[in-house]
């Protein structure tokens, strides 16, 4: 059953980005959180996912999250400045079983600060928490936590495989965003840009 779409369309839209090195598990987190899917065989780069949409209510108010994935543009560090436009929150993702992955996070924080809105909420996530059971941890919780604090970001560790904590980064980043009124002002108010859905489209372009 389709719910009343008018009320849903009027929900404030928050743009959340996932960034971090290749293989950190960004897409796995996105798919587990938005669709409760996990494919242990999938190791290839993400194809075909632009962003996923998810509703979330925090402090009694509902929001529509548009969560963007890097589409493989992190591999050679070619994320465009346009990717960061209008982002309310940036979730930086590393793999706790991979030291190199964690070591690259400083550069990712720099890039996020350089390109995103200065008010955007930053959040650090360590993935693959399930690997701890098999002795796979390479970065300690304390290291992650201390680094996040130094960067002024919140922090948690998750496992997309076991679902542990997968909702937490999104809830906490939205909680942080909604405490910054200047940041969400644009999420509800109509901006000055033009809505192509409002006007009629040029029907048959002339063939001259």
């Amino acid at each position: 059953m389709a719910p009343a779409s008018s009320s849903e369309d009027s929900l404030p839209v928050l743009k959340i980005l996932l960034i971090g090195p290749s293989g950190a598990g960004k897409s796995a987190l996105l798919l587990r959180y938005c669709e409760d899917q996990f494919d242990p065989e999938s190791t290839t780069a993400t194809i075909g996912i632009d962003f996923k949409t998810k509703k979330l209510a925090v402090r009694g108010k509902a929001y529509k999250l548009n969560i963007f994935d890097t589409a493989g543009q992190e591999r050679f560090r070619t994320l465009s400045t346009s990717y960061y436009r209008g982002a309310h929150g940036v979730i930086l993702v590393y793999d706790i079983s991979n030291k190199k992955s964690f070591a690259s996070m400083e550069k990712w924080f720099d890039e996020a600060r350089l390109n995103a809105n200065p008010d955007a909420a930053l959040y650090l996530v360590g993935t693959k928490l399930d690997k701890v059971a098999t002795g796979g941890r390479a970065v300690s919780f304390e290291q992650g936590k201390a680094f996040a604090e130094a960067q002024g970001a919140e922090f948690c560790e998750i496992s997309s495989k076991t679902r542990e904590n997968v909702k937490r980064p999104f809830v906490e980043v939205v909680d942080k965003i909604v405490q910054k009124p200047q940041l969400i002002a644009g999420a509800t108010a109509g901006s000055k840009s033009i809505d192509f859905n409002m006007g009629s489209l040029p029907s048959s372009p002339c063939s001259c």
Binding site: D36, T44, F51, K52, L56, Q73, Y83, I194
Partner: protein
């Protein structure tokens, strides 16, 4: 993860200019294996939007006045962060670099900064985004319909282009030297500065243009199609000099010699574009630096479709291999193979016209230029000011009798901090252009505000390649070179023809005309349960 050289790519696209990026968008659902590269460490190539720091470096790289072809043999050392790059020992011939950092299309670039710029308000370099391609896009343009049908428009914020002004003699009624060009019937009727007789003449002309393509009207103009529009306006419509200037300004032609045919086509485009996407504007401009933003969105669509992206990676041509593939050598010594190579032409033809441009950061919002033009219309972020031939004192004296156009961008474009504005002035290139453009800028600032300083100024000249794509075959492989950006002040739909041609070459027999740039939205709703956290 696959290595770059392990497979033969279906296509390698060199350069992330608008045309190549639109091609990337067009191919983004094709399942073709695509490698998309750029020699620069930023997106947009000849249509990039630059921070001040990038603009300084860009001006330095294009400071030369000589049309020389420089080979870019930059070592691979700067491309850090690369993973999984294999290198093999193939030998390559020395060959011109494709889409290298040096291009002959831009020359004589230099930057001037106010001696006290920071104290006068100049912000940090990344607070600015100066567009190398500040073209406006008429709402009738096929570019917009393609961005809509491909759903890419959702990632671009479009702003309204508002008033068109003509700079001229001071008007007694309004006391202003900048006269707004009336663009609709209501506008003409309410314009107090136009005498009644002229109003009738102008209305007659506007009615004629709206229907210029009818058999009845063709009889009037077709025999004179190649004559100057200005004479036609005087003889047939009895437009006075001021209305002539206004009418010619709407054609945005740089040589001041527009023909009847071209003039009618462009004025028709202008008039019929008004109101298409909302009231009060005829053209739009992408926020954050013009077509550069569309290029980035095209590349993102390519990446979402599975294409591999590398910046800061010049490419040179290698030897043809036995299988009829094209070999390419990347700056990091990796060699790759492809069956199709798409790049953009980097050299200008000797007969090519060229333009001179000044991009100036102004420490005033120039608010008076951004009036809302109709009830319910969006606040315009771009204003157009035309300086007709001979309207600037020294212009006609020095023998240059061509118009100058200024596009004024408010801070809503995201190209400068609030309280400031960016002015893009363009004219046909001539030895005295730097001087003429400076005069136009000074005249504009005097007319629009009481106090304003030029904090930062970039000057350059730009030429074009041949307007046709270059197609060459290497055995069964194809090299396709797109034309460089056109010099027009409005986006030219002709560019899209070459993009579609390139698309057909990559798609081969899978190319269905009707399917070009027509895609469904990619995003899907997640499961519908509401998560509630208090």
């Amino acid at each position: 993860m696959e290595t770059l050289s392990a497979e033969t790519w279906d296509t390698v696209i060199c350069g992330t200019g608008l045309s190549q990026s639109l091609l990337a968008l067009a191919l983004s659902r094709s399942k073709k294996r695509i490698l998309h590269l750029d020699a620069n460490d930023f997106y947009g190539e000849h249509e990039a939007a630059l921070s001040l720091q990038e603009a300084d470096a860009w001006a330095h790289a294009h400071a030369g006045g000589d049309v020389t072809h420089q080979l870019d043999n930059k070592p691979a050392s700067t491309n850090n962060g690369n993973e999984d790059i294999a290198s093999d020992g193939d030998k390559f011939l020395t060959a011109p670099v494709l889409s290298g950092k040096e291009s002959t299309l831009f020359r004589n670039a230099h930057v001037r900064k106010h001696h006290n710029a920071e104290a006068q308000g100049l912000s940090f370099p990344r607070a600015y985004s100066l567009a190398l391609a500040p073209q406006i896009i008429y709402t009738q343009s096929k570019l917009l319909s393609q961005l809509v049908s491909s759903k890419a428009y959702r990632q671009v914020e479009f702003l309204a282009v508002g008033s068109f002004f003509v700079y001229g003699t001071t008007d007694a009624a309004s006391g202003t030297i900048l006269a707004r060009i009336p663009s609709s019937r209501e506008d003409v009727f309410s314009a107090q500065s136009i005498p009644a007789r002229s109003k009738r003449a102008l209305m007659k002309f506007l009615k004629f243009v709206i229907d210029y393509d009818s058999d009845e009207h063709k009889l009037v103009w077709q025999a004179r199609a190649d004559e100057p529009l200005s004479e036609f306006l005087i003889e047939h419509f009895k437009l006075d000099e001021r209305l002539q200037n206004s009418t010619l300004a709407l054609t945005l032609t740089l040589d001041g010699k527009v023909t009847v045919k071209d003039g009618l086509v462009t004025i028709h485009r202008h008039l019929t574009s008004i109101g298409l996407f909302g009231s009060g504007f005829c053209a739009v401009y992408p926020k954050w630096g013009g077509t550069s933003e569309i290029a980035q969105v095209g590349c993102r669509a390519g990446a979402v479709g599975g294409s591999t992206y590398m910046l800061d990676t010049p490419v040179s041509m290698g030897e043809a291999d036995h299988g009829g593939n094209i070999s390419l050598k990347l700056s990091n010594e990796v060699s790759i193979r492809t069956t199709t190579l798409i790049s953009s032409q980097q050299t200008c033809s000797t007969t090519s016209p060229s333009i001179s441009r000044v991009v100036a950061v102004i420490n005033s919002p120039l608010q008076s230029l951004f009036e809302i033009l109709a009830e319910g219309a969006p606040t315009p972020a771009v204003a157009v000011v035309a300086f007709p031939s001979g309207s600037l004192p020294n212009n006609s004296q020095s023998g240059s009798d061509v118009p100058v156009y200024a596009f004024v961008h408010s801070s809503e474009t995201g190209e400068c901090p609030s309280g400031q504005s960016v002015v893009y002035l363009t004219m046909q290139a001539a030895p005295q252009s730097p001087h003429v453009l400076d005069m136009a800028l000074t005249a504009l600032l005097q007319a629009a505000t009481t106090t304003a300083d030029i904090l930062y100024k970039l000057y350059y000249e730009q030429a074009t390649s041949s307007r046709q794509p270059l197609v060459t075959s290497q055995g069964s492989a194809t090299v396709f070179e797109l034309p460089s950006p056109s010099l027009g002040l409005a986006f030219d739909d002709e560019n899209l023809v070459a993009v579609k041609e390139a698309w057909k070459i990559v798609m081969k027999d899978e190319a269905l005309d009707d399917a070009f740039m027509k895609f469904e939205d990619r995003e899907g709703m997640g499961d519908d349960d509401d998560d509630v956290y208090d």
